[in-house]
Symmetry: C2
Subunit: 546 residues, 2 copies
Amino acid sequence: MQGLMQDWPLLIHRIIDHAAIQHGGRKVISRSIEGPIHTTDYASIRRRALKVAQRLARDGIRDGDRVATLAWNTWRHLEAWYGITGIGAVYHTVNPRLFPDQQIWIINHAEDRVMMTDLTFVPLLEKLADKLPTIERYIVFTDGAHMPKTTLKNAVAYEDWIAEVDGDFAWASFDENTAAGMCYTSGTTGHPKGVLYSHRSNVLHAFMAALPDSKGLRSNDVCMPVVPLFHANGWSLAFSTPMVGSTFVLPGAKMDGPSIYELLDTYKVTFTAAVPTVWLMLLQHMEANNLKLPYLKRVVIGGSACPRAMTEKFEKNYGVEVIHAWGMTEMSPLGSLCTMKPDYAGLTGTARLDLQQTQGHPPFGVEMKITDDNGRVLPWDGKTFGRLKVRGPAVAREYFKGDGGDILDDDGFFDTGDVATIDPHGYMHVTDRAKDVIKSGGEWISTIELENLAVGHPKVAEAAVIGAPHPKWDERPLLIVVLKEGERATREELLDFMRDKVAKWWLPDDVAFVTEIPHTATGKIQKTTLREQFKSHVLPTVEAAE
Amino acid sequence: MQGLMQDWPLLIHRIIDHAAIQHGGRKVISRSIEGPIHTTDYASIRRRALKVAQRLARDGIRDGDRVATLAWNTWRHLEAWYGITGIGAVYHTVNPRLFPDQQIWIINHAEDRVMMTDLTFVPLLEKLADKLPTIERYIVFTDGAHMPKTTLKNAVAYEDWIAEVDGDFAWASFDENTAAGMCYTSGTTGHPKGVLYSHRSNVLHAFMAALPDSKGLRSNDVCMPVVPLFHANGWSLAFSTPMVGSTFVLPGAKMDGPSIYELLDTYKVTFTAAVPTVWLMLLQHMEANNLKLPYLKRVVIGGSACPRAMTEKFEKNYGVEVIHAWGMTEMSPLGSLCTMKPDYAGLTGTARLDLQQTQGHPPFGVEMKITDDNGRVLPWDGKTFGRLKVRGPAVAREYFKGDGGDILDDDGFFDTGDVATIDPHGYMHVTDRAKDVIKSGGEWISTIELENLAVGHPKVAEAAVIGAPHPKWDERPLLIVVLKEGERATREELLDFMRDKVAKWWLPDDVAFVTEIPHTATGKIQKTTLREQFKSHVLPTVEAAE
């Protein structure tokens, strides 16, 4: 028997409708690419998003068509997302930090028909355009006065383009499982793979993200996503913020310390979110200039592990609550947030910081398990680590065009590729990537833990740990180190430093000194390259074992 | 094109799964019907709910079957809801405050197969049982030791009944639109009509209810629903509380001031919800005994309008934030909550109390409009009042068995039967019931406002206003008054008191003094009876008009 409740599909444009009706005058403040601060409100965002929808429809863009955006966080980018999805088309965010070859590959694979971009990226796109045959026209997020001369096909200034329609238009109606957004994963190996969000997944994920124990967003918050919309679906902030009607502050292209601080202070931002690198720049700027953060209450830090010192500084020196978070493009992207359950409410000082090194617990709508290589479920004791697998309405079931094949296990869980522990209260801690973890005599050794330990040595600038082949143990850890400018150190010196701080059998078998460690375009250590580089490296323990 | 996210239907049992996994040790504390305080946790609630599901299945209860509950808020009632819905059956809450004839009618109309009830109601049910042919067995929420001798068919103590299975059982899988719960409206006229919630509507509604600007529930809250589960789907608390993992306090059968105070104080309740009557008893008890509420932070007051003095006392004397709320059985039931948007964040004193007399604003997922009798949309100016209509995924589209016919307008909105204003910031204020509003010369007069005004007179105990027929104006207000014990007053005295406080044309044309005003079983003024009683009443203004 079916319930008798209304058929009200979870469509993204209902979010901007709600914001325009219930929070219509609430401000949306952006640092424009042209320079000045631009202020608008949700009612206007919706009106202009309807024009985007109407104008795209006139250009022949239809249900399921992909519209690329290569752009910073501004009001125009936000309008574009709602306009694109409002006719059943799909926003495809392209990451400007990828290598040009990757961008070309992604845009062609997605078969994007339109490219919406910022002034910043016009020169880049002019170089790539020859290799982007599916793009029919380029729309530049600016007005006629700022529009550059360009060779880009059918290029038009966004303001001129939407001025060609009157906005007398209604959102399209369709099934809530209709595709809405697309973001490619930036894997360290192989081609990127496309994740395809639906209207339903984005709306449900916004609910999950806004809950009090997640981001806890409300209408009297002033929310600034420093994390770009092109980074893993913008951490849901384009949806969860209008859903609750917070004031919105969008930082445009400038993410340096002084620029971010200026917005935080001027617009009394209460909530913000970004990767650790951004906060490092902010903290350095504030320390150098003796600045304070009287308005900021919460900062979500994710994308990579939040250093302990960063959490400590934010909380102790600035009175800002740090919410360490974890997720991935395949998860829309939020998987867990480290907010305090009552079980840990009493923690202070070091114990609290220890807990905040974990990536926290999932909201309702994300299920987690950790398993061994054979899929056997492992205990939640905070010590045992295994492959982290997730399930939920905002988790990918497959990649675009079926790339990568079947990605779910028999119970429908997606393997995150991370290795993690989960404690008895559900707090998850990522200890490594599954492909990096070292398997020594059937037991796992976390390379991340060893790297964190090694960089604690005063002479070490950067460290990477990989598994080197070993006849007896299969693999043993090899520590690869870049010393700080002008420093010298010996193998023994570093191993002695680490010796008392890890289990004896975790201690690297050897240390290699290098002048540089290779990185991906998004700043991750390229371990595949390191493994290739050190494939002939013979551990000093090998001979002894043979 | 469809998105490629996982198929993860919104099923109620996923909520108790999440609570058991992420908040398994969090306490669920009940005042038992047998007397003592009973303490359990979410992990145990889930284990026992699985037994309920398994045991019902063994009794032949299947997908779509209705299982009645006539019971107070206890852990067993909570387990029953999850157990019933976990096999696709439907909990049907029966309100013990209804007249026996209504209870019989409702149970037969629902064709309930099983009745789960408290010790409290065994004597009542023994009297009704002959007239309840569809009920195959009675399960009493108690253990063998407390089980009374009873004539009820196949009666069994709940604890004995679930002890017959081992709990090795899995929730059923089905479509999220499957019926989950049922609650009959207690209309003032005609037969009650059944509202049929789905799994989807209950899960989405729990998200809406838990948002920071709604109830703002989090795991470190201690949540006590004094509002019974049988009152309008328990205001979602059976779902929104485990969804976020708050500690749960269930007050059982005792809702008097001392009993409620004892729980609030002993278990450090931070969040509670009930109708004004309950809070009146609590406030009287606290005033008489000079008690405080050091732990309580927020109280949701709904079901009927929250008196201004109550809001003032809670906030000023006890430091508790009052959240005035509005909803109805047909809305799962929350429609709006009066939390502060930034537009009103600066309000204090009288201005804040004025705003708190409104029923607040809807969360994402509830759409509202006000219209005239012809369906024309009226402005949101805080003054114009019209029929309040709503739309959303947790709003009814029709009643059980099609009773009442088509209940949606052409745009899919449900007419709430309330008359309301909405202000420019979306704050809704119920001014009357549509069937009670007086239509005088094409303009509407709110009977509730006149009644509130009349009871402000020191001699008036209770007041009702109805429309009396008038040849020129169609209807004019007739004020019907019960004076306080031993008081005497004249028509002129009361009208003079009201004269300067309303628009001239709103002033009642006459006053009738009575010794009693008729009420429904749930305490609402029975205006149909009053209209019948006063149908021959001739207004003194009639002759003048003719």
